[in-house]
């Protein structure tokens, strides 16, 4: 089964070129050049993410840091790096080249890491579904408050959806309550269960819970990230010019992107998520990653105190708007003042815009995450094949 079948042509060229070079004089100049390019490209891609060239860092364009479209770019960067990494590492290479120590050990650690990436991809993809639940609730708020004039009925309806939305948005993933039955609140006490109580306190928010339970109960996104970082050692001495270097870079890229996704998107069990992991500053490719890591780490620390569902920009704004609309609803008296109504109309319009952006962006984001999954699986298979083929044989019986 040829590995080159689905590769873009430039990767094919790399492999052909490398074969020729190695065949001709066996020196590693070409390899060094490929490695150099990989580092530069990686650095450039992340630099664009940290500060977009057109400087559109405004919430209105939807391009801002940790927004859905920013995350989509982030995932794209991961996909690009992955493709180039594979070209550098595997293509056109004799299996025996990568199955020798210390590379075999590094790669086997890398394979471990990539399995964790797969699970995180699944968890994050499920998290995207739970954001869609928030979107649906927000849409109820929008459709109730978009009506004119706003009366008691609309406000009550919006209020009900808002409390469900807010509890979905502020859920703390430490509180793992799996037995929640319905996510929308009963509008009144049932069968003596807290009957007559204030329904807003009982707002039920199973959406983020129940749907995030695709993986095992004890699975923890935070622990996966920790485990991915744990054996990530900077290549030293002779390793630093060889293939250990791209393996190290790619590992860091994977860890960083997965970490950012877990921080941004609701995910099972994130308590103890590291806010920082060590990447040496001397590497050019790492600058932007370190910069973003600091920014996200700060945000995460704030989040942990507040207990919101994720750093996703749209969710944060949704939460703010929701809070403000709840205040409006709780103090509502018909008919409302014109000034107040104008303010609410603006907020509703913003909420509607966020919903629209979610509607547009969440499914493509989910598909991209799925694509990461596929790519990692494919590369994993190829690397494992190379490792096995290059290995001294073992008894099969």
């Amino acid at each position: 089964m040829p590995a080159t079948e689905h590769q873009p042509s430039f990767l094919g060229r790399i492999s052909i070129r490398r074969n020729q070079v190695i065949a001709m004089d066996g020196n590693h100049e070409q390899e060094l050049e490929d490695l150099e390019l990989f580092q530069r490209h990686t650095g450039d891609r992340f630099a664009d993410l940290l500060s977009p060239p057109d400087n559109q860092d405004s919430p209105l364009t939807g391009e801002s840091f940790l927004s859905i479209s920013w995350l989509r770019k982030l995932v794209d960067v991961l996909l690009c790096c992955e493709a180039e990494f594979k070209a550098v590492l595997i293509m056109g290479r004799e299996p025996s080249q990568i199955s020798k120590p210390p590379l075999d050990r590094l790669l086997s650690d890398f394979m471990e890491r990539s399995v964790k990436v797969l699970d995180i991809c699944n968890a994050v993809a499920t998290g995207v579904d739970s954001i869609r639940q928030c979107q649906k609730l927000a849409e109820i708020v929008v459709s109730a408050l978009e009506q004119k004039p706003i009366g008691d009925g609309q406000v009550k309806r919006a209020r009900k959806a808002l409390s469900a939305l807010m509890s979905a948005l502020t859920i703390d993933d430490k509180e793992n309550n799996h037995s929640r039955y319905a996510e929308r609140t009963w509008s009144f006490g049932r069968r003596g269960n807290n009957s007559g109580g204030n329904h807003k306190d009982r707002a039920n928010h199973g959406s983020l819970r129940s749907s995030s339970m695709v993986v095992a109960k004890n699975w923890s996104a935070a622990k996966q990230i920790q485990a991915m970082c744990s054996n990530l050692a900077v290549p030293r001495g002779g390793e630093s010019t060889g293939l250990a270097q791209p393996v190290y870079i790619m590992s860091n890229v994977m860890v960083f992107v997965m970490w950012a996704l877990v921080a941004a998107i609701p995910c099972q069990e994130r308590s103890g998520l590291p806010t920082h992991f060590q990447i040496p500053k001397q590497f050019g490719w790492a600058h932007s990653i370190i910069g973003m890591q600091e920014k996200i780490g700060e945000e995460w620390k704030k989040k942990e105190k507040k207990g919101s569902a994720g750093l996703l920009e749209e969710m944060q704004r949704m939460e703010k708007l929701g809070q403000s609309l709840i205040e409006f609803a709780d103090g509502f008296q018909f008919p409302a003042e014109a000034e107040k109504l104008e303010e609410v109309a603006a907020q509703v319009a913003e909420l509607a815009e966020i919903c629209r952006r979610m509607e547009e962006g969440l499914m493509p984001l989910q598909q991209q995450i799925r694509e990461v999954f596929h790519r990692i699986v494919r590369s994993r298979t190829e690397v494992l094949d190379s490792l096995d083929n290059g290995k001294v044989s073992q008894p099969i019986m």
């Binding site: 499920t126 509008s187 695709v214 019986m397």
Partner: protein
Amino acid sequence: MEPPENYSTDTSFAVPFEDAQKIILRWDSTASEEARERMIFDGDRQEVDLYLQAVDEIQKSMSSTSISSPSSDHRDQDNNDSNKVNSAIQIAMARLEDEFRNILINNTSPVEVDSLVVSDHASASASAASLSHNTSSLRSSDEFDREEVGGGGGSGDHGDALDPIHRADSSNSSASYRSTSSIREIDLIPQEAVADLQSIARRMISAGYLRECIQVYGSVRKSAVDASFRRLGIEKLSIGDIQRLEWEALETKIRRWIRAAKACVRILFASEKKLCEEIFYGIGTAIDDACFVETVKGPAIQLFNFAEAISISRRSPEKMFKILDLHDALMDLLPDIEVVFESKSADSIRVQAAEILSRLAEAARGILSEFESAVLREPSVVPVPGGTIHPLTRYVMNYICLISDYKQTLIDLIMSKPSTGSRYSGDPTTPDMEFAELEGKTPLALHLIWIIVILQFNLEGKSKHYKDASLAHLFMMNNVHYIVQKIKRSPELREMIGDDYLRKLTGKFRQAATSYQRATWVSVLYCLRDEGLHVSGSFSSGVSKSALRERFKTFNAMFEDVHRTQATWLIPDSQLREELRISISEKLIPAYRSFLGRFRIHIESGKHPENYIKYSVEDLESAVLDFFEGYPVSQHLRRRSQ
């Protein structure tokens, strides 16, 4: 927003707006204790009808107030009216939402997979009732597993033939999964409740409360599906967990998964779909679908996650057959997955299933090539004692016999020829294979032949580790003969390998037998030649006695040595053993007999003839019978018996 027209069969029931509003307010749960504690749909049907009509009336007036264009004089009044109507609608919708949830919850119980066979024969509504109310006979998933071992792979016909069995013993459901060979929907909720849900859903949706309706529906049904999953024993395992598990443990899980997946797709998911279609029938084209996908998307992903994890696990030969089982099961399910998840919004589920299938196929291909290179490189160098069948030969032949059992699947999966040329070309450490003469064979057959080629290649390498060339030949003869026998005993394998190649193999072990005989017996028989015994220029008798004595001594010593050694060698196949002994006897005995006939007189006329003619023809004949038995002969070759 048009109020629906045909809710009531009797329009004379219609209530005026004021009364309608009163009814709505009476059931406002935020207003009175009674309204909070009681559910309308739990009580009197008349109350239900009254309430629904009140809702219709309010909706009717809502659409009329929104149509009226307020003049400036009446705007406040109109605003006030519309506020009242809106408020009443909100109260009514909140109420209906709760009623909707209540009906769903009260009628939701996890599907009893075991009872599905029974439900198949009972009438639809009766089965629904037994499903939702009879929880006493729930089985643990363990029981469920045990039962399924016998029931797997049923013919799929669950018709009348099975009926008496189930009638006779209602607790017996050993054949329950026979019914999962095709889509079979069951009633998850009794029809009366479905009718109520439908009438509520229509009103919520026409009042613009579609999203609320979907939310409630999804949340209740999702947990129902979750509960059924637990009952089916579907585990939540991460890919990481699965990679860490021992393969034997996974084999059990794969078996279990295949059964559970069939029940999930063909019964659970299909029935959820049917329920959505019933409740939201005719209300809007995509609503039923949205509800369905909302309900089962998570569970479906969870279900497929296991197969996905298996499909990407590290490849090794022992995984082949369970992976093929999983592949076949999924292949078999795929058309039903496509039916159940036909809608656009369920795209991702269909795609995922197809991806897993192709990944399993890829894994099977990978394992086969992994197996090939493992066979080629199998490194053991310690020769098996006695030149018998090498464990590698047994392993490989058993393996490819199993492969031929999966012929139907593998013929479709294995599409490329073995990579003999590209990967191994010009390499002295790999064998050659002529494809030209194997024209018209399937790639799978070529792979099997190729595996046999590399097996022989490896064995030849191993044979070089025998110090005795005769034993090396015997070893090859034994092993190739074993290969031939294995192929002949499996009709599938024989058909794929083909008679041509089988003849080649047969020729090969015969050649090995010939080579063995040459290596061992040429020198022994050389003792029995005439040359060198006649003394030239002598008239006495023309035979040199001393040379003759020497010749007999040499022969005796050589034969004794061969006998002692080769009795410990082993030909496990009795027929082959017999044939080879006969072949030896056919050469040895006549030669000895005639040598004896010609020269016996010269020895017997001298002193101590027994020192030279130690064995009679019969002695040799019986000595040959000791050959290749695999154990040392207890005494020396028996002397002539008299």
